[in-house]
Amino acid sequence: MYSLAKLPRGQSALKTALRRSVSSKASSAGGVSVIGFENKGPAATSSLTVAIKAGSRFESTPGVAHVLKNFAFKATANGSSLKTARETELYGGVLSSALSREHIFLTAEFLRGDEEHFLSVLTSVLSSSHFYGHELKELVLPVVQSEAIAAQSSPTTLALDAAHKLAFRKGLGNSLYASPHYPVTIDDVKSYAQGAFSKSNVAVIGSGISTESLSQVVSSAFGSGSSQPGSSGLNTSKTSYYGGEARIPLDIHAPPTALPTLVIAYGTTSPATPELKVLKQLLGGESSLKWTPGTSPLAQAADKVPGGSAKAFLLPYSDAALFGVVISAPTSPQLAGLAKEVAQIIKSAGSAAKDEEIKRAVAKATFADATASETLEGLIANVGPALFAGGEVKSESFSGVSASSVSKAASELLKAKPTVVAVGNVNVLPYA
């Protein structure tokens, strides 16, 4: 039997562990914030990530952030895209780029000892990318197209994208993926890159590299870089939450893995609080043990529909958050029934929670927060936004969370207009 009394001790041990691994933060190496985690990660490899505050939120034309993310590691002054790729293979490294709604992440993972080469690759992408027109057509657009098609074919991705569009409209509501209805030209990409690659928009995260030498090299590399010192050059708008409803039919030719999906979401225009994280774990939907559905109310509801699932999600951004449930079931009538049940659960969320359930949710939320930084992806997703906010990376403290604060947060959240996206047989699926 696990004892709840063990919880506080676990939390303090967690805090010391995190403090040990974050080595130092060199605040501005030539105007670029740098953070290094010296003891993190495997012993033989290191990684470097450049986070650029140029996600889909800031894009000037639809889809240009997606194209710019795929334009990473193409022709630069250092050499052609072939040269970069073959050299990386010979060095035994991995280059990748990722796009989130607020950031573009360029990552290089490599063996220890190759830091210089890969830092020069990353800085050359930022400072001297050529953006050839023929590269856009031959190399980048096919990848963009395939990613967009893959996103369209997954109802969950489609529904979440539509939910953001309804909830936030502009800014955070911009789609993550380029659309064939709005072609992106090379001039769009060039002007977006010029605004995005300025020094104030860029942060460097190193793992397994000594921070002093990293900040030294970064300041020398970026000192000669872009010429815009202070301005970001990208439009940043205040986020407001609208809410709304959308019904998208699921194509009859869709693959059988595409289940009808319904997303019910609520947004806030303030960053995610610990209460919201606890609320997400309270509603739950995922099980910690195999072969059992779990004890959370969403999981219990989903268990009644074979093959159905209802999972709570919380998507935090720098000045807003989207909280909701993704529900899916094998057929649309089943989804309709499940969705009505889930709507009831959400309406009573937080208000009827017992103390033990809150404690369980707090434990789960603490664990989720702690393990989020263990993989490289999770680390970058946590550290990147924190660096731009100027704050230290610290673990979320759930000590102030209680049943009353959670129910207060839930009731405030539910006051707003809900965002409901239904993907499937729209004749059968329910309205908001």
Partner: protein, 153 residues
């Protein structure tokens, strides 16, 4: 400047040309330009409205790839010139003198793109057939700002 081999035997779909060697010697170029201009006017393509690069044999993969890299306006103009020239050839006619290509219009728009494509293919072949020697040893010898010096912690 391309290598002597390329100048004598040709650079892929582009034929042999000593032009880069001549262009480096201005006195020689001024003398030679008279003969090359005479040739271009006498060759007959200008009288049918073509540009020099319209005559490059396009049935090679490199030229096809280079043609994909033309801008839409360039592509349209090229097709127009082809149709007009074919029409003249069918009637064994030349265009009226006002419509002949002038030397200012006769820009080599396609040759740089072909050279780019050929260079990319050559780079790929170089990377495919290179041999890797002694990377480990070089790594051990190399000392950069990130590597620890012996003796200090």
């Amino acid at each position: 400047m391309p290598s002597l081999t390329k100048m004598i035997f040709g650079n892929g779909p582009l034929g042999p040309s000593l032009a880069p060697w001549i262009r480096q010697r201005p006195g020689l170029q001024k003398y030679w330009a008279r003969w090359s201009n005479f040739y271009k006017n006498a060759a007959g393509y200008r009288q049918k409205g073509y540009l020099y690069d319209d005559l490059i044999v396009e049935e090679t993969p490199q030229v096809q790839k280079a043609l994909q890299r033309l801008s839409p306006q360039q592509r349209y103009d090229r097709v127009f010139r082809m149709r007009r020239g074919i029409q003249q050839s069918m009637g064994h006619k030349k265009l009226p003198k006002e419509q002949w290509t002038t030397p200012e219009q006769d820009v080599r728009y396609l040759t740089p793109l072909i050279e780019q494509v050929v260079a990319e293919e050559a780079e790929r072949a170089e990377w495919d057939y290179m041999t890797v020697e002694k990377i480990q040893q070089k790594r051990a010898e190399k000392r950069n700002i990130f590597s620890k010096r012996e003796g200090t912690h």
